[in-house]
């Protein structure tokens, strides 16, 4: 029974990992850029939720969309002011640009909100579900289900809609897409917006039960790296499956080795993936 409990809570958290990793893998597959500030986007989503709850007493239906909208704008802004200029530059410029952005955002948050842990009131999404002796907190359930739906929606949007096809066309072959009348710049900006919005809403969702602190982005970004490497380069379905698997692995290792080692197991998995299956679960070689 305990194991089932652990697996379910791992799956729910894993769905949130899948949501913010999907955005990371989208950018990576499309532009071959790794966003080191992706965890900071999640962190900002958490603080948006925190500020809206404390100042405006808004609920999840307010701060979820607000975080998504704000982070969408931030993502587009980052693309136009930074990424567009370094994307053709040397590798070091690509890595250092988002790495510098991550530090800037993290320590700005540090300066604005201090290092103190913050949490949202439990009464925000009250209750615990009891299914035959398995207890599931409502905040976790809402976050997990919403994240699952949003990740699937992102996948459907990429595969079934015109704008999704245009995005994938740019990812496949920028030159050919241009000849088809698609503006790559606009599509890439949209991808950055979408990716950041996913991270923001994921942050808002886990803010209801997770600790909120400026440095939270670092471990979340590393988790997303593992999910993306495991799921495969540029694959949203891969990120979904890998996110759920990593969530379960993390919960189980917290139970078996103790909570402090849950991230150690996940990061070690990254090195194992590099050695054993670098193309990931569903990735191309």
């Amino acid at each position: 029974m305990t194991i089932l409990q652990i697996v379910i809570s791992g799956l729910l958290l894993g769905a949130v990992y899948a949501l913010f990793s999907a955005g990371l893998t989208l950018i990576w597959g499309m532009m071959d850029v790794i966003n080191f500030a992706h965890g900071e986007f999640v962190m900002i989503g958490m603080y948006v939720a925190f500020l809206i709850v404390t100042w405006a007493h808004g609920g999840p239906l307010v701060f979820g969309p607000a975080a998504a909208a704000l982070l969408f704008l931030l993502g587009v802004g980052v693309y136009f002011s930074l990424i567009r200029h370094v994307i053709r530059g040397p590798m070091i410029a690509q890595i250092l640009s988002t790495f510098g952005l991550a530090l800037l955002l993290r320590y700005l948050a540090f300066w604005l909100f201090t290092a103190n842990f913050k949490t949202l009131p439990e009464s925000l999404i009250p209750g615990t579900l009891d299914i035959g002796g398995i207890y599931i907190g409502m905040p976790q359930l809402v976050a997990g289900v919403a994240a699952l739906i949003l990740t699937l929606a992102m996948h459907l949007m990429l595969t079934r809609t015109t704008i999704g096809s245009q995005l994938l066309a740019v990812a496949e072959d920028r030159q050919a897409a241009m000849l088809m009348g698609i503006r790559p710049d606009r599509m890439q900006a949209f991808a950055w917006g979408l990716s950041a919005a996913g991270a923001g809403i994921a942050g808002a969702l886990i803010a209801t039960f997770y600790y909120i602190v400026p440095t939270v982005g670092e471990s979340l970004a590393l988790t997303a790296f593992v999910v993306v490497a495991f799921g495969g380069f540029g694959s949203v379905p891969g990120a979904l499956i890998a996110g759920l698997v990593i969530g379960v692995i993390q919960s189980l290792s917290a139970y078996v080795f103790g909570p402090v080692y849950k991230d150690v197991v996940v990061y070690a998995l990254f090195v194992v993936i590099l050695w054993v299956r670098p193309q990931g679960l569903l990735g191309r070689a």
Partner: protein, 330 residues
């Protein structure tokens, strides 16, 4: 004058200035800052071998620095050895980590290496923070008072200053030789286009790994020197992400893949950091890192080659406005 001769002449001037520094600024505060400056230059020059010359950007070099910093204090704590005896241990551990990370990720795109380094550094930091044998969250201490001269424990910063200067000169001399030799050509080829380099017969993976091993060994040595001078290390100062950040920003500011770039970066950043810390006290460290993030971001956006390249570009532009860029690219 050829570039190589100009570099030797510049090196002689810089070396003379560095050797004279403790006589010119003869008080404890400036002596200490000078030693910290040289240490930052050593660590950044070590990072520069793999991150700059070979173009494989590590964002987790703290794992080598930390291994180097922990080893001397570990052999002292458990077996009362002289801390210097731990230096080879730190280097051995660092080389082992470098092989485990480097071998698989150098088969893949460059981003995998960056991601692997930051994940490994964080993994090691968490393990060290929870492992009683290496002091867990509290860390390790060196000998409180020197037992023999072998402990290399001095009250003044000047002996450290000259030890660090000797190491820096050795490291830069080695880098200079490699830069001019076959390794330098191979690294430049790998950096400017891996596929092209491979098709020309450059053993890409092997030379990326050489760069990483060399870089890891010297970063570890920098960590050991830090531990000898400070006499204390904890998980944050040894393995924290900010230790990696300082190496990166120091090299990137001066100029990645250049011989004197990291030293120039240290000459600018260390006094700047000392000034912000004494201005704002402990609360200033957060502001320092906002500043660091901003500097790294602006460098990546406007001057990915760092200040040295910017200076060359401006100088070339002033001399020959039309062909300045083409000349520099060659």
């Amino acid at each position: 004058m050829t570039t190589a001769r100009m570099k030797v002449a510049a090196a002689a001037v810089v070396l003379a200035a560095l050797a004279a520094y403790p006589w010119v600024f003869a008080n404890a505060f400036y002596e200490r800052m000078g030693a910290e400056l040289l240490l930052a230059a050593i660590a950044a020059s070590a990072w520069n071998i793999v991150g700059g010359y070979a173009g494989q950007v590590s964002v987790g070099h703290a794992m080598f620095f930390g291994a180097g910093a922990y080893a001397p204090l570990l052999v002292y704590t458990h077996w009362q050895w002289a801390p210097v005896a731990g230096i080879p241990l730190g280097i051995a551990v660092s080389l082992a980590i470098a092989v485990v990370i480097g071998l698989p990720s150098f088969r893949l795109r460059g981003h995998y290496f960056s991601m692997a380094t930051i994940a490994a550094a964080e993994l090691i930091r968490i393990v060290v923070s929870n492992w009683a044998f290496v002091g867990a969250a509290i860390g390790l201490m060196g000998p409180p008072v020197p037992r023999t001269w072998l402990d290399l424990s001095f009250r003044s910063s000047v002996p450290y200053y000259y030890i660090f200067l000797a190491v820096l000169v050795g490291l830069l001399g080695l880098t200079f030789m490699l830069e001019r030799g076959r390794s330098g050509y191979y690294w430049r080829a790998i950096k400017s286009g891996e596929r092209a380099a491979r098709s020309l017969g450059v053993p890409v993976r092997r030379f990326k790994l050489y760069a990483l091993l060399l870089s890891a060994a010297f970063t570890s040595l920098a960590g050991s020197l830090y531990a000898l001078m400070v006499g204390f290390v904890d998980p944050e100062s040894g393995f924290g992400i900010l230790a990696s950040v300082e190496m990166i920003i120091t090299a990137a500011l001066g100029g990645v893949g250049t011989l004197f770039g990291p030293l120039l970066g240290a000459v600018i950043l260390v006094p700047l950091k000392t000034a912000t810390n004494s201005l704002f006290g402990g609360g200033g460290s957060g502001l320092t890192y906002i500043l660091y993030g901003g500097i790294i971001l602006l460098l990546a956006r406007f001057a990915p080659g760092g200040l040295l390249e910017l200076w060359h570009r401006l100088a070339a532009g002033a001399r020959r406005p039309s062909s300045g860029k083409a000349r520099h690219a060659a």
